[in-house]
Point group: C2
């Protein structure tokens, strides 16, 4: 799915870590939400509220979900973070991602 | 207008200057196009094909359209770039912008 159709986009960007991580919020017709984001190289930690699907479209990173091992994605890949969990990222090259918030 | 409704967004990011300038392309129902973007601090030069409206929602920058003077926007502001023209930017803090491509 290369396009998201019939959606609402919130114009104002979400800006974290002095702009090294930014995203735009997309509201889908089914009531769910995605963010399309960019991460510059660096190390970051995030926490979830809902379960998240992190779909990496470009870039190289390592991720570690609390209690787990470091895993690498280079170029493209998907990982899931449970609700109410934290995860760490080491971003090595500019990452283009789509995060989907899942109700479970 | 804080939201763009009933639009199509292209998932893949537009990435320039090693990720220091990134944007997402939004296709509107009237056939026009906008990009929602982020610029990290730095100096950049761009060229237009269509006339562009650059609507700055956050950040501080200076801009100079070919043949013109340097002008400053701090926080919010709009400027226009004619079709087939170049413009320079000095971005001082993270800029959140919406660029509208105008048919004239």
């Amino acid at each position: 799915m290369t396009q998201l159709k019939n959606v609402t986009i919130i114009k104002k960007a979400n800006i974290y870590f002095d702009g090294k991580v930014t995203s735009r919020t997309v509201l889908l017709q089914d009531g769910t939400k995605k963010t399309l984001g960019i991460m510059m190289p660096g190390e970051y930690e995030f926490s979830t509220e809902l379960k998240e699907e992190m779909d990496i479209a470009a870039g190289k990173l390592e991720y570690k979900i609390a209690g787990g091992e470091w895993e690498t994605i280079d170029g493209s890949g998907v990982f899931y973070v449970p609700a109410n969990e934290s995860f760490q990222l080491k971003v090595h090259t500019v990452v283009d991602y789509c995060c989907s918030y899942l109700a479970e």
